[in-house]
Symmetry: C2
Subunit: 234 residues, 2 copies
DNA sequence: CGTCCATTTGATCAGGGTCAAGACGAGTGG
DNA sequence: CCACTCGTCTTGACCCTGATCAAATGGACG
């Protein structure tokens, strides 16, 4: 196995300001894993033996209820940490993480967390800041779910994905990984039927283009107006 | 103004293991405030000049949407921190905090946060753990809002309040501060009308007793069964 | 005693879930 | 290369949960 190059993680906010030698020391503790599409990185309720950094790909984090319903908590993009159960004071993962495409991740044994956070304060504060950010995002979702209609929620969800992973194409901004109507439904607390109806309605209005596991936002502004509840006449 | 006694904060998890002298040093930086019922402790979007510890009373944390709808993010109980914008990497409060009853709080200037977290690592890790816990709770609420019917959500909300602030009486467990139908609606993403109908239905079944701004859970077990979607015949 | 809220309760209605079929397209194996 | 299969997506019909609209009731408090 070849050595991991420090350029993989230099430049990431939580490793900001660390000396090259420190980066190497940190990388020595990591394993690099290749996760095939649809494979799980870690599983809800499983013992949290590792925490992970996504180097390449996209991962969806899913909570499953006792009766089998699924909710997509968030999508992880390259450069983000995941499975940081330790930072939440847990010994078990609160959700499952599934590769939306083939992925590359770094994995560290969970038990080195305290040492890492102590030796490199910037790592500690950086990840806690991540947790803080996620708390705010999650609270915004609560507000959305509690106050908005389905149409607005779906519009917001698409806009969030566009911002997070949008890739510019000649037709508009494409969400850069395969995403089904069912996935969108699980992000917004609705059904794939309703999502399908909304997307075809929006397609007729020229707001989006979509196909099998593929969504392109053509007119972000008008979609945003819709998300904000400002009706759009046309 | 009399000196604050260290017994106020000794014993709280975030000050665990600190020497009495340290506690005194920390308290010297704090002001103690009395907040009358319905007054705000801090306001959404306001500059985060302080963070707070609730010593006595109950505070509700509310987010207001641009169009004026309100969502109750959480209730704060004595011994909990609030307004810790700094720990979330913010300079402004993400929500408002309103005293549900007359309250006593300690306030520290926000700018001493870094110093505090550095001088007393247990304080830093303790509060970050708090943030982690709140993230998990909030994610659970997202799952609830996305998957459950109104009846189950209201039942869960009441059970959470009972666990957090329940006081045993001879009729059952009383939620220990004034709470209106409207408040419960704002916790669960529904309307006061629906909450009212649910409560009267439950009262007829003997699950709860309720009055003006007052709810007592008589049979937590049956209410829990209801919350879990296991229908209750009777 | 009067006023102001919180609450209750009825009537109506629509957003969106559920049920049911089918169409479409991508990958598989013959 | 084609037929088949499986999973995704679409679309229609129907219905139910819970929101909305409207009024009246009942306490609490000044």
């Amino acid at each position: 196995m070849s050595r991991l190059d420090r350029s993989l993680i230099a430049g990431l906010p939580m490793f900001k300001g660390l000396a090259p030698a420190d980066l190497d020391r940190i990388l020595l503790q990591a394993r690099s894993l290749r996760i095939a599409k649809d494979q799980t990185v870690f599983e809800q309720e499983g013992e949290a033996q590792s925490f992970f950094l996504l180097l390449d790909g996209h991962v969806r984090v899913v909570k499953t209820t006792p009766d089998g319903q699924q909710v997509i908590v968030r999508y992880i993009s390259p450069g983000e940490l995941m499975g940081i159960a330790h930072a939440l004071g847990r010994t078990t993962y609160p959700a499952s993480a599934i590769a939306a495409v083939d992925c590359v991740v770094l994995a560290w044994p969970d038990h080195i967390w305290p040492e890492l956070a102590e030796s490199f304060p910037s790592f500690g504060t950086g990840t806690y800041k991540t947790v803080g950010t996620r708390l705010q995002e999650t609270q915004s979702r609560v507000v959305e779910l509690a106050t908005e209609q389905v149409e607005q929620r779906v519009a917001h969800a698409l806009l969030r994905l566009v911002k997070q992973t949008g890739r510019k194409t000649d037709e508009g901004i494409l969400i850069d990984f395969p995403i089904s109507r069912q996935d969108i439904a699980e992000m917004t607390g609705t059904t794939l039927h309703t999502v399908s109806r909304l997307l075809t309605a929006w397609e007729e209005k020229g707001l989006v283009k979509s196909g099998r596991q593929k969504v392109t936002v053509v007119e972000p502004h008008r979609l945003f107006a819709l998300a904000e509840g400002r009706a759009d006449k046309s």
